[in-house]
Every structure is written in C-alpha cells, then in structure tokens.
Symmetry: C2
DNA sequence: GGACCTATTTATAATTG
DNA sequence: TCAATTATAAATAGGTC
C-alpha cells in the first residue's frame, strides 16, 4: 500500500504492448481469458469450437472443445473455395475440384518442393477436397489435444 | 421500472441453456464477446489467431487475425503427428511421412470414397505434409475471410 | 515465472421498447 | 426479431510477495 496508480484502467486495448515483460504477462492472462470464454460458450451452446494462437516467433497455443483437429477438419470440409478465375456456380464446384484433382495427380510423383504458386494453389484445392473425404473416418486420430482442459504452457 | 430480478447474475456458466431463444441470444452475444477478446489479444500481443465455432447443426462462424486459413495452415504445418503404432523418433518423422506418401500415391488413382479408416488415416498424414509444403506459396488464396472485422451473421 | 490482491473497466443476463 | 438499458458478475492491469 504505497505507490498505487491505475490498475484495472487503460482503454488502449488495441495497441501493441511495447514492454516485453508486460506483453508476456498480458498474453498469458488474456489467453487464459479467451480460452475460458470459449469454454463457457461451448458449454452453454453445445457448440464445437477451436482457437489457435501464434505469438510472434513462438509455438502455437490452442484450445479445442471437444478437439482442435476435429473442428479444423470439419471447417476445411465445409469450405467450397471458388476458383480464382471463374465465378464458379455452386453445382459445378465439386466437379471442378475433381477435374483439378485429376490434373494434380501427376504432381504427386514429382518433387513438390518445386511447385510455383499456381500449381500449389491448385493442389491445395485438391487437398482440401481430399481432407473432406478423410475427415469422416473416425476420431481416434487425436494426437493428444485438449478436451475442455487447458494446454500446458 | 417494475419487475426487476437478476440481470447480470447467474454463476451457472457451464450448463447448456435449454431455452432455445435464450440460447440463440446468448450465443450471439458471447460469440461477439469471444471474438472481441481475441481481436484485442491479437492487437496487444501482435499474434496470429483464429477461432472457429460450430453451433449444433449450423454453419460455422469464424474469426481470424489476420486470416483464418493462414493460421490453420500454419498450425497444421507445425504438427508432427506420431504414428499410432510406433513411438516415432523425431528425426524419422519426416522420412516416415514421406514413405507413407509414396504408398498413398497409388490411392489417388482409386475411388477415395471407399477408403477404410486405416487408409484414410495414413492418407491424412500425407495430406498434412503436403499442406505444409503448399502453405508457403502466397496468401492471395483468401476466399473472403476476416481481417480484424466481424463476419456477417 | 506463478499465485494472490484490488481498483477499475468490461461483459453480459434479463428486461424494455 | 433487434437495439438500448442497467444491475450485477467477471476480467484484468498493475502491484506485491
């Protein structure tokens, strides 16, 4: 009880914290805060949710209810990315994806490290389609993720 | 100013809300709350973050700073899932993934809809490795995601 | 780094219009 | 449905140990 300044104040919540120590402390506190809110949301609604956070230059922290990977797979499967060139009619999206897939099959034989952006982009479309197909095959893949619990820091 | 009961009360934050209307209202409010907190966290720390929520039987809601897909790809790329059977030495993980990849190449020719779980699981490992490779090829894939803004409801 | 403290700011449940 | 209100509960910045 001596020097006491502001405490729960400050309305500057959208500026990067410059002091590295304060930033680390705030990250730890607020990360837990966001994860806790997400956990409450999942429980109250009965929803699936996952959060992934990458602090600059660090490993990711993640939260998932009931599971991070499940939710990611489900999300990627839901997506139907439009072709960059064509507007893309809904009914033809799957067909187009399959056509891309045929073309891409050959690339699996070559060194994928040498793809350019266009090739990689097309490949990614195919991969996402494949992931959609794969995602339905059970859940025991889980490589040790959260289940309503916090991840060890 | 007549009947006034509790308002901001209730400590039961981990039970599913039974009343459908209340549940919908709470979902909308708290989803915005979580996304707002995540946005603040990203700004204050300078971190990447993404959130995906699936309400039961509905389309997903997502938040990403700066982008949902970027963060997912980065996360999937970071993962090095251990083989279910073998303990897996760190140095051999990539090599094993590549071996699986070779075997899986043949499957791309067959109907992927008929894979069993084991096949799909192996395929998924290969896909995740490929996605890691693909994720470096630019960012203009973005199929219209968030960038610090809220998604239309 | 973590666990606790506390003034202050936020989030939000129930309600009203 | 949907914005605004408001009493109350939570989150949290800065501090101490």
């Amino acid at each position: 009880m001596s020097t006491r300044l502001i405490k729960g104040s400050k309305s500057v919540r959208l500026a990067k914290i410059e002091n590295q120590n304060n930033r680390q402390v705030t990250f730890s506190k607020r990360r837990n805060g966001v994860f806790k809110k997400a956990n409450e949301l999942a429980a109250m609604i009965g929803a699936e949710i996952c959060i992934i956070v990458f602090p600059p230059g660090s490993k990711p922290y993640s939260f998932g209810h009931p599971n991070v990977n499940e939710t990611i797979d489900k999300y990627v499967g839901e997506e139907t990315p439009p072709s960059p060139s064509s507007p893309g009619i809904d009914g033809n999206k799957l067909k187009n994806t399959n056509k891309n897939l045929e073309r891409q099959q050959e690339w699996f034989r070559g060194p994928i490290d040498k793809m350019n952006y266009t090739e990689a982009s097309m490949l990614k479309e195919g991969l996402e389609y494949l992931l959609l197909k794969v995602k339905n095959y059970g859940t025991e893949r889980g490589y040790g993720y959260e289940n309503g619990k916090w991840k060890a820091e």
